[in-house]
């Protein structure tokens, strides 16, 4: 199993069409051009598929940058070492 961090960066890269290396703690709706509300929904669906989780609405609305996405996944038991 590859590290959760690597997988998470891959998902964001796939959804937003940017290099995985461009995803860091600064990445957010303000820095990534394609991170708009519709692509946010696609991000949620992609995360649910990859990590086998089901996010609730509160989590969906708050995870507007990379560290918050990580935090939400951690709440679902995904471990980022």
């Amino acid at each position: 199993m590859r590290a959760a961090e690597t997988q998470l960066k891959e998902v964001l890269s796939d959804v937003f069409g940017v290099e995985p290396s461009a995803i860091d703690d600064e990445a957010s709706v303000d820095t990534i051009e394609k991170w708009d509300s519709l692509n946010h929904l696609k991000l949620v669906l992609a995360l649910e598929e990859r990590f086998g989780v089901s996010l609730n609405e509160e989590q969906i609305t708050e995870m507007l940058n990379y560290p918050l996405v990580k935090a939400v996944l951690e709440e679902h038991g995904v471990e980022f070492s």
């Binding site: 796939d14 959804v15 069409g17 929904l41 696609k42 669906l45 649910e48 598929e49 990859r50 609405e57």
Partner: protein, 613 residues
């Protein structure tokens, strides 16, 4: 830094490969991003009117169409503005001039009480709700039809999985699930009353993925996005399959390997009696053969391509008691030690079909890779027992989807078998002319009618090689031409001593004063080489003269596939003229057109007299 073109193509290829092998939703999203930089592909404009959040499905649709060489561009109507879009003839829908319209409806949005408060409804109210929903969809379809003649895809509705009445729902007539199915039946009736309306089968898609995983209640409630992650890809594929078929991207032939594909084991090593077939360990292969016969019955051509000694394989095909697929089912076979790419090319040319009409099925990763590399037009199915049921792997990609199961399709295989008999006649005749005389061909030419319009539309959609203009028409388009006082649609049916080929050629002609203008002139490739096209052209001229025309003309629009008809108009005596539009234009006085050869008898209309042409 902007990527150079080869980089873009490379990125697209890698992304599409990932979709093929992993097929996850995330892979589709990545591929959509890669495709955004690649403008190649035949354009198809899709307008989506919807009452729910369809956007997550669209990347799957776009990528699946790209896998068939189609470049989708989307117009998506405002959320829950179906009526406004459908009923405004000057609105966004009409302005988007779509090639296909998708009416995407979620039942809970249309009938919240039927879905959410079913136990509060009386039987009469349930019946009224059911009728109201069907009536609403009919109104929307009629509205869309006023703005555009494009084909419309509307969906039926999935069952809920957990009906509100619990176990009671299954016990009575006026049940919640019963009413959802009744709406689906009503929609089908509406669709069949209107030309070019097709059903996206949400009912089957959600039955397949399961409604508890397929529905995302939370996202429906908060974001009007009801489709769960597991259903996104299958739902997008469902629409892609329909659009692919509408655009004539239909695979006509399946070429299968033998060892560990048609049967378990290796005939050259295990011998015919050591093969796994029938019950027990061979059951999976027998099931695959059953599926191949289903394709055969639907008009798909079966062929075998295997590295073996011919005698071994024919012994199994003809004599093994557990075989379902027999030699008589095969339109062609290549049993030898040549490479499979060459063999596939030979089969394509024997059957007179394009490589892009073929699907290749093999258990060997090597052979699959070789065919993918050297013949990228061929669709490849790599059978892998580790990936589950073999028969499902054959049918799941939907390569053989067609929207018209005309009896013409079933005739096709019989035709290719008859071709073998014809070859025998040919070797007995001393010249091609003599051979054609021996065939005793009869061409039946008649104006389009209700009975022939589906096949005529299908031919305009599927015919690539002998097609002067490659204009694709729907049934509704054909009907409009046929009913126009200044146009005519002719179909030609061909039979000979050996077989009935069915309707194989179409001409569409517009009459304007002295000029008879050929809009479309095409013939199925299985009727090539008999001079039949000349007979149809003769008839076009004859009818034009009857209408008082003195000149006949048309254009040749070049495509990558219709090179062979570049010289057709000159061959019948038409001369090049300056064109005022695209293509090369030809015309002539009708009196100067060369007459057709005499080996085909012409019958006009259904009860017309036989006239030797």
């Amino acid at each position: 830094m902007s990527p150079s073109e080869p980089d873009t193509r490379d990125a697209v290829r890698v992304a599409l490969d990932r979709v093929r092998t992993d097929g996850t939703y995330t892979a589709y999203l990545a591929a959509q991003n890669a495709l955004a930089a690649d403008p190649s592909g035949e354009p198809v404009r899709i307008a989506v009117l919807r009452n729910f959040t369809v956007e997550p499905i669209l990347p799957v649709l776009e990528v699946e169409l790209a896998l068939s060489g189609l470049k989708a561009s989307m117009y998506v109507g405002d959320f829950d503005a179906v009526a406004a879009d459908a009923l405004d003839p000057d609105g966004g829908l009409a302005r988007s001039s779509p090639d296909v319209v998708i009416l995407a409806l979620w039942l809970e949005g249309l009938a919240p009480r039927l879905v959410g408060r079913f136990p509060s409804l009386t039987d009469d109210e349930v019946a009224a709700e059911t009728q109201r929903v069907v009536g609403y969809v009919r109104d929307m379809l009629v509205g869309v039809r006023r703005s555009t003649n494009a084909p419309i895809i509307v969906n039926n509705f999935p069952l809920l999985g957990r009906p509100a009445l619990g176990i009671l729902d299954a016990q009575g007539e006026a049940s919640q699930h019963g009413s959802i199915l009744a709406i689906g039946r009503g929609l089908l009736g509406v669709a069949r009353d209107m030309p070019d309306v097709f059903i996206a089968d949400h009912l089957s898609v959600f039955a397949n993925v399961g409604s508890s995983d397929g529905f995302d209640r939370k996202k429906w409630l908060h974001r009007r996005s009801p489709v769960g992650t597991v259903a996104l890809a299958p739902l997008g594929r469902e629409y892609a399959r329909i659009i692919r078929a509408l655009r004539g991207r239909v695979r006509k032939c399946v070429v299968v390997d033998c060892d560990d594909t048609l049967w378990g084991g290796v005939v050259g090593e295990d011998g015919p009696h050591g093969l796994a077939l029938g019950e027990g360990p061979g059951a999976a292969y027998t099931a695959l053969q059953r599926e191949l016969l289903n394709l055969h019955d639907r008009g798909v051509l079966l062929a075998v391509c295997t590295k073996n000694n011919e005698a071994d394989v024919l012994e199994v095909l003809d004599g093994h008691p557990e075989m379902l697929v027999r030699r008589s089912h095969l339109a062609a076979y290549r049993i030898n030690w040549d490479d499979k790419a060459s063999n596939l090319r030979a089969i394509a040319s024997e059957l007179n079909i394009g490589l892009d009409s073929m699907v290749f099925v093999d258990d060997s990763a090597f052979e699959c890779g070789l065919v993918r590399e050297s013949l990228p037009e061929v669709a490849v199915i790599h059978l892998d027992p580790a990936k589950g049921d073999l028969a499902t792997q054959l049918t799941d990609p939907g390569w053989f989807d067609a929207l018209i199961t005309s009896s013409e399709d079933a005739l096709r295989t019989a035709h290719f078998r008859a071709e073998a008999t014809r070859r025998d006649i040919q070797s007995a005749a001393s010249s091609l002319d003599e051979y054609l005389e021996h065939l005793g061909m009869v061409a039946e030419i008649e104006p389009a009618s209700d009975a022939t319009i589906p096949r005529i539309a299908q031919l305009t959609q599927k015919t690539n090689q002998f097609n002067l203009t490659t204009r694709r028409y729907t049934e509704a388009d054909i009907r409009r031409y046929a009913e126009s006082p200044s146009a005519e649609v002719l179909s030609m049916r061909l039979r000979d001593k050996v077989a009935d080929l069915g309707i194989i050629a179409v001409a569409i002609v517009r009459y304007a004063g002295e000029m008879a203008e050929i809009d479309s002139f095409l013939m199925s490739c299985r009727a090539l080489g008999r001079g039949a096209e000349r007979v149809l052209f003769d008839e076009v001229c004859r009818r034009a003269r009857e209408r008082g025309c003195t000149r006949i003309g048309g254009v040749y629009l070049r495509t990558p596939k219709n090179e062979q008809v570049a010289g057709f108009y000159p061959s019948v005596g038409l001369g090049a003229e300056p064109a005022d539009g695209p293509g090369v234009r030809f015309a002539a006085e009708i009196a100067g057109v060369r007459a057709a050869p005499s080996h085909i008898n012409v019958v006009r209309g259904r009860h017309a007299e036989v006239v030797s042409s």
